[in-house]
Symmetry: C2
């Protein structure tokens, strides 16, 4: 995904900040701010700084690959929606977190919260025959929710980035089959982001849209949601389902399962929408006998900035961030210590190795910073592999290599290193 | 940039529309709508459909490559800005096209028009020493302007995508040198988008920010701007400069040049901002003697959705769109005509060739559509190379290959084709 890159650590790129004024109520907000991944403008409004942007781009690259792999096409709905389009399915008034605004000429607009309406409006007239179905489209774009209390760093913002996918089908059976393909692709996304073992597909009541939906919940003590797991962890249900005796009876066929309660962060969700939006936009298809039929629809979301925050929240330790390999901002963090004239030659060898291996490297050769501080910064930033080039490297031709997850490194010849 | 892909033309992907209700006042809006690249929700508010999204992604890929090549780092400023941050440099009240809104709790917010304030806010405290400069950062994101009369298709919208770059420097000389590097990178972007020969770096008065700025103007009879070119086309000036006798005298050293008037579309701009924003945000650096110094800043923009519209506007002909190679949605448009059972084997050979050459192909094997209509659709969509697989191909092992810009094709063995 990322092409081979060598960047140099400086104050402006990833300067770590230690002042208490940058502490925030959440662990992810605090760590990502101190490590130079984000800068907060106001509650729930963040700038993704270059380090954070690289993580976000890698996550969105994974999402894009997985959505393309299930035959979905990328598009982009307008960020501004008209009141008129939002009224078609009755959501102008019913979404309480909708940001509404007026143009100078008095048109009533809102900011995109999700894009069911925009996608239906765009596909009106494009879905006409059974030959046009199924259709699956997605976008990765800004979403807006006027939260009463934006909080938890990147996990609940007023504005955030989300991948949202919409699929249209001729039959309920086709929709259900595709829905399961999307669920599988979601599980691959979370696995590739390094959190697969702790994300649970969770039965949910369906929120505003439908009676059938799933949440993807990442176990985390600081999560805002509560979920319940069966003892063997083969089944997860959300709080609403757990409190609904009818649903429980249907799910467990009358037996009383032993459920354990957990805090979790919702990192994705999927909704069967049925005909709600397609009927509102009068989207119909002609079947092979020429008769008009209703169209089935589902929508599916993954918050990509939220994933940055969620991974930071659950995979960090007391020294800082710990990025999984596939979404790390760089592959290797190269710390240069000692006199520059005595390390330059070996650093050149390391740089050639980075090029040959087509890696992304962050090099810290700041002269004004002590070695101990550089090591602390490397731990805080959390790149998977740290390589130390020192004056000793020039003598014995070895570098120290240490994984972020380990305490001790080993000394190796750079040319023999495989990561 | 794009990985090898095979997609099939269907109604939902790129169905061409011929109804007059989709005609719009601008050529680009009308063509892009009819060819299935965009769908309009309201004036100045478009959905980029999958075909349009592929062009936009290719353009943004080129922009990203060129900005990375001049040492700039990608980031993302928040789309929502606070009134407080916009007041720092006095722009909350002075930008008349600013969309303002209120949160439910009464916070005053606006939508990002440009991001000088957000970037300065994020780099406060990160630029502290001469070692931290220069800094160059860019983003590619939605921008919002409450235009009185959004029009001209994708060329002037209420919401659009823009690459905006911000650079910070210790000295004016360093800023001027970097500014010229950005200008060169802009000219490379326009050349790679296929419009290089008709884009002119145009002296401009500087708009709201400064007395020193450049516009990048693409000659087009339907452009909203007026520019003036010297006879040898070595120098271009905008209308404000042409009407300013003092500026003219300085520029032409008292001689009276012969200038010709042209209509043009502004596809980029660059502004020397001086200290205006850095002073407002109190961004200072310590020089090597420890003294605090002011920081120089410039900003630079390219509208990426506008580029989609501008290329459609100037490179189309009376049959449809004509995409330059590097930004075309696909490399080849494969039209299959005749009985599917008699073409399947040869189509398989063509598909293997597409895979071997790592191309992106759009295949039209719709059975219900006549050959003439398929050819008209191929011309309307405007992919650079058209390949026709017919029953004859099975007999003589040849396909017809035709460039979009030519009238006649030639028959070749698919394996011998290089594009």
């Amino acid at each position: 995904m990322h092409t081979h890159t060598i960047h140099y650590l400086s104050t402006s790129l990833g300067k770590t900040l230690r002042s208490a004024s940058h502490e925030q109520e959440s662990k992810n907000g605090s760590l990502l701010t101190r490590a130079g991944f984000v800068a907060q403008m106001a509650a729930g409004m963040y700038t993704m700084l270059p380090l954070g942007m690289r993580v976000l781009s890698r996550i969105e690259g994974i999402v894009r690959e997985e959505m393309n792999a299930i035959g979905s096409y990328e598009l982009a709905a307008p960020t501004l929606h008209t009141r008129q389009v939002m009224e078609r399915a009755g959501r102008w008034d019913s979404i309480d977190v909708l940001y509404r605004l007026q143009s100078r000429q008095g048109s009533e607009l809102c900011l995109q919260a999700t894009a069911e309406e925009a996608v239906c409006a765009a596909f009106q007239g494009r879905i006409a025959s059974h030959r046009d179905l199924p259709v699956s489209v997605y976008q990765i774009s800004d979403k807006f929710r006027d939260e009463q209390r934006p909080r938890a760093g990147l996990i609940r913002g007023r504005a955030f980035r989300m991948k949202d996918l919409y699929s249209f089908h001729a039959t309920e059976a086709d929709l259900r089959q595709y829905y399961e393909r999307v669920v599988s692709s979601y599980l691959r996304v979370f696995a590739r982001c390094g959190i697969g073992a702790n994300v649970f597909r969770t039965f949910a009541s369906g929120g505003a849209f439908s009676k059938f939906s799933d949440e993807f919940q990442l176990l985390s003590d600081s999560g805002e949601d509560t979920i319940f797991l069966t003892e063997d962890r083969s089944l997860a249900i959300n709080k609403e389902v757990a409190e609904d005796s009818e649903a429980l009876t249907a799910l467990f066929k009358g037996t009383r399962p032993h459920l354990t309660e957990h805090r979790a962060i919702e990192v994705g969700n999927t909704f069967m929408l049925g005909h709600r939006f397609t009927d509102a936009f009068n989207i119909r298809y002609q079947d092979d006998t020429g008769e008009l039929q209703r169209v089935w629809m589902a929508s599916y979301g993954i918050g990509t900035t939220r994933l940055v925050g969620a991974v930071a929240e659950v995979l960090s330790d007391d020294r800082g961030l710990v990025w999984p390999k596939e979404i790390a901002p760089y592959d290797v963090h190269i710390v240069v210590i000692g006199d520059r004239s005595k390390t330059a030659e070996y650093l050149e060898r390391v740089t050639r190795w980075v090029e040959r291996e087509q890696l992304c490297a962050l090099i810290d050769q700041r002269e004004e910073i002590r070695a101990g501080e550089k090591f602390a910064d490397a731990d805080l930033i959390g790149i998977p592999t740290r390589i130390v080039v020192s004056e000793r490297s020039t003598e014995d031709s070895l570098v120290e290599v240490k994984a972020r997850t380990e305490d001790l490194g080993t000394r190796v010849k750079i040319e023999e290193l495989r990561i």
